[in-house]
């Protein structure tokens, strides 16, 4: 077999820290395949744009790691042009056992668009809450029984909040988040969904949507949240001046570093209102194959299997705090010891059974829809718009944009 070189594009240059070693492991294991990384895209959005542009000029990479929320749009556009590979057949060819041992259905669902498998989930995360235990104690909270409902979270945050010392209760930065992840989380944890079952309109034009907006507003009014940039929130939490902070487990490594030994850091599950239907959206990215030549497609499939395999996932998870996307990775042979040493990382795994896909809107207007929704959410959180009026506006604007796409 002639050596094959795969052009691989991933987002976030800093992910080089695990992509590079994973690729090295892969090449050691598969001497016939060389991995050549393209200059990483600065973000999911920009990676997405780059690929869309390159589709026009036939310069697509062979493998691309697409953000889950942009995958549907990417897959649909490229499928129309015949520039993306469907993975169902390839996976089926590996046999049922292989599939069952490695990928849970929930994880596979993350890579499906319109029922077809286009990507294998590589990084996955669902929102968790970071707690400053020192502040929790001071506010009379029990560090070993952290709240599991939003009311309790807000109550605790309210007690932590001491503006005189520059300490805020909570930061749930949905108003500044670059995508709709945290918003969607608040909808789905209450058993709601983004879309109506026929995907023709928004599905949260109801009590659930209203409750979400009310909760957001309560963060500010009762929980002592200040409306600042989401990066600034993380900085402030790291500096020990925020009690509760909602973010991705992927931030664990950085936040642990920022905290140092200034205070005790603990993570806890994302509260779930509807214990029955409640779900939390999974963020992260899936690897897709865009190669055109057969040899490359085959090599790419080998690569995809590897990066979603346990050895690779061990590397990734240890470095970031992401959820492993491989079933075997959690095992004693791989991540078991590490999780024991880093209990904070376990939170994400503990709520993994609640993980659902991170949905998008049909029509290819996702970025624009989130920008519109975010503006309204900001106004609601600032109190310039009642939750009722805000919801009406979000629903109207989203429906309109879904149709105009």
């Amino acid at each position: 077999q002639a050596p094959v070189t795969l052009d691989v594009l991933y987002c976030f240059p800093s992910f080089a820290r695990f992509h590079e070693p994973v690729a090295k492991l892969f090449m050691d294991a598969n001497p016939g395949i060389r991995i050549a990384f393209r200059a990483p895209a600065p973000s999911y959005d920009e990676g997405h744009q780059t690929v869309m542009r390159q589709a026009l000029t036939n310069q697509l990479p062979d493998v691309f790691y697409s953000g889950f929320h942009l995958l549907p749009e990417l897959a649909r556009t490229l499928a129309r042009r015949g520039q993306i590979i469907e993975l169902d057949a390839l996976l089926a060819a590996e046999g049922d056992t292989f599939r069952r041992e490695n990928y849970s259905d929930r994880i596979l669902a993350l890579g499906r668009v319109d029922g077809r498998l286009y990507g294998l989930a590589f990084n996955a995360s669902n929102p968790i809450l970071y707690y400053n235990i020192d502040l929790v104690r001071r506010a009379g909270g029990n560090p070993d029984a952290l709240p599991t409902s939003w009311d309790a979270v807000i109550a605790l945050a309210g007690r932590i909040n001491t503006p005189a010392e520059g300490i805020n209760g909570i930061a749930y930065d949905v108003h500044g988040w670059p995508d709709g992840w945290l918003f969607e989380a608040m909808i789905t944890q209450a058993g709601g969904s983004l879309l109506t079952p026929d995907e023709s309109a928004v599905g949260f034009d109801n009590e659930i949507g209203l409750a979400a907006l009310r909760t957001f507003r309560r963060f500010v009014t009762e929980g002592g949240m200040q409306l600042i940039d989401w990066n600034q929130s993380r900085q402030q939490f790291g500096a020990g001046k925020i009690g509760i902070y909602a973010a991705s487990p992927a931030n664990l490594a950085q936040i642990t570093g920022l905290v140092g030994d200034k205070f005790t850091l603990r993570t806890h599950v994302f509260p779930i209102t509807d214990q029955e239907k409640g779900r939390i959206p999974t963020g992260g990215n899936a690897a897709v194959i865009l190669a055109r030549e057969e040899a490359k497609q085959r090599a790419a499939w080998t690569f995809l299997k590897f990066v979603t395999g346990p050895e690779a996932q061990k590397v990734v998870v240890e470095m970031t705090g992401y959820l492993p996307t491989n079933l075997r990775a959690v095992g004693e042979q791989f991540l078991g010891p590490w999780y024991r040493a880093n209990p904070n990382a376990l939170t994400a795994v503990r709520q993994a059974d609640r993980a659902g896909p991170w949905g998008g809107y049909p029509g290819g207007n996702n970025v624009r829809i989130w920008r519109a929704q975010r503006d309204v959410i900001t106004l609601v959180m600032r109190g310039e718009l009642t939750p009722e009026a805000g919801l009406a506006r979000i629903v109207a604007e989203t429906n309109a944009l879904m149709r105009s796409g």
Partner: protein
Amino acid sequence: MLGRIVALVVLGLGGAVMLLPFVWMVLTSFRPAAAVFEGFGASAFIGFENYARALTTAPLLRFMLNGVIVCAGILVVQLAVAIPAAYALAKLPFRGRGLLFGLVLAALCIPIQVPALPLYLGLAHTGLLDTYFAMMFPFFLSVFAIFLFRQFFKSFPDEIIQAARLDGVGEFEIVWRFVVPAALPAIAAFSIFSIVAHWNDLYWPLIVITETRLAPPPLGMLYFRDAETGSNYGALMAGATIITAPLVLAFLVARRRFIEGITMTGLK
């Protein structure tokens, strides 16, 4: 005396505002992660650890080399194109001179974002994406340089040019033998403009470059600035310090000529 003190105080305050971000940048580059947000007070100091990390996490030196190649390439072509054109506009009568100058003035107002998309499509069509050329091409013509040099050349004495013609010096030789040496301050001034603009440009390289080995310095900063898992602040600041330093040095070296050059181009 009082006026002097007031002036110094005002200048000092302004200078502090100018410097503050840089001071914090450099301070942070020497701090461990846990001490990053501790303001300007004394804090833990970890020496050059962040610098070491900056230089190993991303091939910063390679990026800087790319930056040098791109800036130098752009500058050389800009000068090679703009100097003769400006000379022609200032000193040589030819048909279409007025039109050309009008177009130059109009182009002066067009930022790169305007022709970016058609340029991208054109480069893609010719298979030139992912080359140094693609990074440099849109900047090969600096209408600003043409404008600046024309102002300068206009004040260059006609009589020297005529003397040179009488001495048998060819027109092209006149330019590089007599006009260019006299224009060195203006060229220095423009070079600073050009290098500052292109060293820190991120917009265009992001569009046309996919290969890491061609990336310019600001792209290197992206390796430390990360929206998804959080930035490595110390290394980010160390990297920023590293890539800013050459510009500051360049300004220090060319400062005299730079100011002189602006004065001489008659922008005064």
